[in-house]
Subunit: 269 residues, 2 copies
Amino acid sequence: MDRTDFERASGARVRELCRSGQWTERTFGMALGYYQANLAIVPAAYAFEFMLFCQRNPKPCPILDIMDPGDPVPRRAAPTGDVRTDAPRYCVYRDGKLVEEPSSITHLWRDDHVAFLLGCSFSFDATLSDAGIDLPHMGGNKGRLSAFISNIACQPAGRFNGPMVVNMRPIPRRLLVKVIAISERYPLAHGGPVHIGDPSQIGVDLRKPDWGIYTPLAPDVEPVFWACGVTPQVVAMQSRIPEMITHSAAHMFVTDLRVADPSPLTPLG
Amino acid sequence: MDRTDFERASGARVRELCRSGQWTERTFGMALGYYQANLAIVPAAYAFEFMLFCQRNPKPCPILDIMDPGDPVPRRAAPTGDVRTDAPRYCVYRDGKLVEEPSSITHLWRDDHVAFLLGCSFSFDATLSDAGIDLPHMGGNKGRLSAFISNIACQPAGRFNGPMVVNMRPIPRRLLVKVIAISERYPLAHGGPVHIGDPSQIGVDLRKPDWGIYTPLAPDVEPVFWACGVTPQVVAMQSRIPEMITHSAAHMFVTDLRVADPSPLTPLG
């Protein structure tokens, strides 16, 4: 089973593969045209503060859907989905420490859990490719997007406070304006970049990614950084939130929302 | 003192007029180019559910800023502002009933109050005018935008449940596409219309506005309906929320956020 078999699959099909245990790998390059989502689950007692954190930090945390307390079904983003089983892999954080990386969290689910789906920049990768911008991490099974804990401070909200995680795409200089213009159109997938060029200005050493692998840059290429939906995980760790359950980095929850839809969150729009 | 004196005033200047008691009237046509905002204040115990209601109903309730519990200062939308004094007039709802319409709410403010600022369609009126679309309610002191309780149901969230309030602008048929295209660009000001034409389809009788006054339509004109930020007030009434404090309809809180800014909520964007 190869990810390229599922490039044109629906979001529902990828969720089904994950739910049945047939897919436990990263989801980049799959179900192109559908919004992929970061997942964050917190106890209801923290839900307002976490939602406020997302609202104040729309670049790393663009909200696609939020479920009622105890409801694992994303009724707007994926009505046939279940956040407990439909991501390929999960991370369980307790008191700021990663304690478990299961492929299902059904055994951990409680009535006071509130689940958030936050947009992921994988969502606009296909649009960038279609516009003639080659992305080394797309296609096949080898490419990896590298991600870094930057020195950009998020806006705090209650107990939630910490640095922004960014990911990097290497972009030829002549395509910079085009890449910015396209990604700015997708605020629900992190929107435009947060930094271009010299990584040290945002506290990043390209040779030491916190996630993914180091790939040297060609000479005519600039490193372009987007806000990343792994940010809540770093914030949960640094703020020692008693409990947060998330997807594992790059192992996304794929929704039914379409990237081409001009206003995917507003059925009336 | 006439509102036309303040067409080109800053948001801060209009807030100052309201705070000092010099302006207690409606704010349409003032501080053009700045986002005007609906205000809703709920006790912290209801804050998550109300925020969820806004997230699920982005057309009537586009979130501009949310304050920490007890903080009356919109630190992102209007850092020199104070939600207790800077709207011209307020409505106080208790158990679903309007009990008071003061011009300041300093005497009512508590440490557990959470204030929300939600975008208002007055924000794009100047952009529509600049594009050659005459709006009868703009300029002078006589124009009034009429608003109606429609039969469009909002997506419920916890205790918050009720119909969408809409307002109506009469638009010449030849300008419909232009008006839709322009307003769609401003999702933080309610975005594109929710209905065009036959008012009865959304349960509206143009001759009986719930706010504003009836103005007959010219023959070449269609009624165009936008979601309205008075929606939370009707929802608070219908759901018998124990306490909600809001601005009085059309008496808006004017922010420092600029309509021309492509991403006013993201300083990094």
